[in-house]
């Protein structure tokens, strides 16, 4: 029997920010399975490029655009349209709703397809209506790092968290992220806008 087709869905900003703060975003690619980031999660992680980790996430997605899918969602499209009218508009839990929308998208998980949901805590699957609950498993960032450690793909899961923690304690490290490329924000906006234009099928890879 062939192995199931596995995808890794990053369903909230936590894993992206934690791994970016630890300079370890590439660890998401180590299992060598497609990585899917809902557009709203990508937006939330990068909307303030002066924040810890944001620019690293942008640079990482740009560098690995062939391996990472930014998945288009209706919730983010609606938010983006509302933001044009009222820049102060807020949409609580948009990232989570976008993640649910992507996973429930018809045709996303077919046949023996399975999904790993990477999140900061295991709580999202109870909000997902899916015909095959056995095809989805949640992992936290630390769960994934421990799996990589057991596979001897990284030396120490705890060391990654310690680097992220140290990054949060380091004023110079935090300030470094404020020294961002002013063109980055426009690049993010253009990327998400171009994805929305193609909305109707799966997002660009």
């Amino acid at each position: 029997m062939s192995a199931p087709r596995v995808s890794l869905f990053v369903v909230d900003t936590g894993p992206l920010i934690t791994l970016a703060a630890a300079d370890s975003l590439d660890y998401l690619l180590f299992p060598n399975v497609p990585v899917v980031i809902p557009d709203a999660v990508f937006y939330e992680a990068t909307r303030d490029v002066g924040k810890l980790g944001a620019q690293s996430v942008i640079n990482w997605v740009k560098a690995h655009h062939a391996e990472i899918e930014i998945a288009v969602t209706e919730i983010y499209t609606i938010y983006d349209a509302a933001r044009q009218v009222n820049p102060a508009v807020r949409m609580p839990h948009m990232g989570e709703q976008a993640a649910i929308e992507v996973i429930e998208e018809p045709g996303r998980l077919q046949g023996d397809d399975v999904a790993i949901l990477l999140c900061e805590e295991a709580a999202i699957t109870r909000r997902i209506t899916i015909n095959q609950p056995d095809s989805i498993v949640e992992m936290t960032t630390m769960d994934l790092l421990r799996a990589l450690e057991r596979e001897q793909r990284i030396n120490s899961a705890d060391a990654v968290f310690e680097r992220a923690e140290k990054s949060g304690r380091s004023p110079s490290r935090i300030e470094k992220f404020g020294d961002h490329d002013p063109e980055i924000r426009d690049a993010v906006r253009e990327t998400l806008a171009s994805l929305q234009k193609g909305y109707g099928g799966r997002a660009e890879r």
């Binding site: 936590g14 989570e96 295991a122």
Partner: protein, 70 residues
């Protein structure tokens, strides 16, 4: 919210007693980057969720990600 209340919430999050979503909401919808910075200011570690009770699911995820293990 007082600083003491914020400290208490961050300590609870660091012990994995509350979720990041709850912490962020109760601290005024701060970003996750701010969570890391606020933990750092207080020398609190990021939470390490226990695998207890989730062993079977995690073993399944591990086998999916690294199929040679099975």
């Amino acid at each position: 919210m007082t600083n003491a209340e914020a400290d208490a919430l961050l300590e609870r999050y660091s012990r994995a007693d509350i979720t990041a979503a709850e912490l962020r909401r109760r601290l005024g919808n701060i970003s996750y980057a701010d969570v890391i910075i606020e933990l750092g200011k207080r020398n609190l570690p990021l939470p390490r969720a226990s695998e207890k009770g989730r062993e079977e699911r995690l073993a399944k995820a591990h086998a999916w990600l690294f199929p040679h293990v099975t």
